[in-house]
Amino acid sequence: MQLAPAELLLSLVFAPLLAAIAAVMLGARAGRLLAVMVCLVLAIQLLFLGQRFSADGPFDLALAGIAPPLGIRLALDGLNLLLLWLVTLVYLGTSLHAWASIGAGARGTAFWPPWLLMLSALNGLLLSGDLFTMYIGLEIASLSGISLIALDRKADALRAAMRYLLLAMLGSLVYLLGVAVVYAITGALDFALAGSRLPGGAVTIAALLLMTGGLLLKSAIFPLHGWLPPAHGSAPPPESAVLSALLVKVSLYMLYRIWFWMEVPVAGLVSAGQLLAAMGAGALVYGSIAALRQQQLKYLVAYSTVAQLGYLMLVFALPGAWQGTIYHLLAHGLAKAAMFLAAGNMIWALGSDRLDRLPGLDRHIPASVFAFALAAVSLMGLPPSGGFTAKWLMLTAAWAAQAWVWVLLLLTGSLLTAAYLFRVFALTFAPRSPRRRAQPVRRPHPLMELSALALAMLAIGMGFSGTPLLDVLALPPQLLPGAAPGLPAPLHLTPGAP
């Protein structure tokens, strides 16, 4: 059988881009149809590309027929294949939700084109092998994402969008400075090529730190997280879902590429990695405690994102946790998208996002509450779920490395997650007070409930698909045993679900 040509990679970027253009020209009705269709088309393309990947391994495509250093390379390997799947699935679910919750009216006219443009930018960023192209992709995704936060022009959302934008501008300038330094010392922008030419020494460290700092700001890693909760808490639900599940994740993805693929020959990386992981630990504890104290449902979910991002930093101190970390990234993406959609439905039903309005809601919109519960199972790391597999892998890695602090933190994190999520359940299933009996409850459109449910089921389903997914995920060069002078040799894991 003929394998898919590498040129198919381009369609992952251009199908959504052309759909965005068509949405501009043809209006909201066409836009929302195109959004769903594009996600389906992307899924089919990813099947073909995945088939080629499993036959041939990683492959790339030099644009304009010019190889790096001058040319731009699109590349597919296990890591971005999985993330592209995450983007496609989350976008499919959230687009279906938006089909009903945003609709094809005046809101839809403003919504669908940037929505599709953001999809194109996310895919472009994930595929790019070029530090500068990634920067442009991240900018487009941020600009579109930020404008969608303010879709309803509410005061909170406008403030949140403004704060996010200012920090995003600052973060990308710092990152750009780092890229400038890399280009100045290596003459290349392709991360693999530039990485192989980096000489080490102080200037290399400076470049690495600048790029890392900019990206940490953009991915809201504690203590740089301040902009995230208001932004994710005040956006329309499908937008919150995509921000939490995808937009913060792609800047972390860039961080992984820089740290683990550029093979930086610097001895001091271990302590810098420890620092990053310590920030992750801070995020885990702080975010969870802050989530416990929220009175508004969406802010609780948003602080949960701050906390869960902490797990994704663990790998910088514990290379053995690589597979667990990526697994967590994927499972969290699906679960958090489901949770934001479900929370959006609950808020829609109540007309308020106060937690104390929740009692009795389970009888009215059981599907959404069930979706919330399934997503919570995965976030807490209860079996069987993607979250459980991820945490199990991370725990095994920490245990094997005898990193007891991390073992403790991982367990504490799960407990805290359980604490703040059970708070929601306790309220939801609590009997209504008679005083509120008259409160009207709106029924969300079935698509809004089904999309949340489907994403939550996928997060649970990831608990059963550990082996095939982890097989795809090879260790990055920097984490291969003995490859990196900077980092300790990783442990050998038996891939697969426990």
């Binding site: 500068f132 900018e139 600009l143 022009r153 406008l158 403030r159 200012l166 501008m169 750009l176 400038a180």
Partner: protein, 114 residues
């Protein structure tokens, strides 16, 4: 030429420092944007200076990167300005602090007469 490059590099770093200072002290969002744009200029100046090292014409790839940088920064700035105007329409605020600090210095209300 190296002497000049050193000078421009110095200028870039001073501009970067001023930009960061401005971002930190500015309360009015237009001022924050001015400072961020200043920081952006500093980064681009540094990029060009690095591209102009060696003999011959400056590196065309750096130049293309700088043009991209200019376009990205006008895109982000115009988004920020649109957000600012919308924010003022809705909340009557031109700053992000939770509580407005007392105004310092002169008001800019007489701008029309300048």
């Amino acid at each position: 030429m190296t002497a000049s490059l050193t000078l421009y590099m110095l200028a870039a770093s001073v501009l970067a420092g001023l930009g960061i200072y401005g971002v930190l002290i500015a309360g009015h969002l237009l001022r924050k944007l001015l400072a961020l744009n200043l920081l952006g200029m500093a980064v681009l100046l540094m990029l060009i200076t690095l591209g102009a090292r060696g003999t011959g014409a400056p590196d065309p790839v750096t130049q293309a990167m700088v043009i991209t940088g200019i376009i990205i920064s006008i895109s982000a700035t115009s988004l920020a300005l649109a957000l600012l105007l919308a924010l003022q329409r809705v909340t009557d605020e031109t700053h992000l602090d939770a509580e407005p600090l007392p105004p310092v210095g002169e008001d800019g209300d007489a701008a029309g007469s300048r």
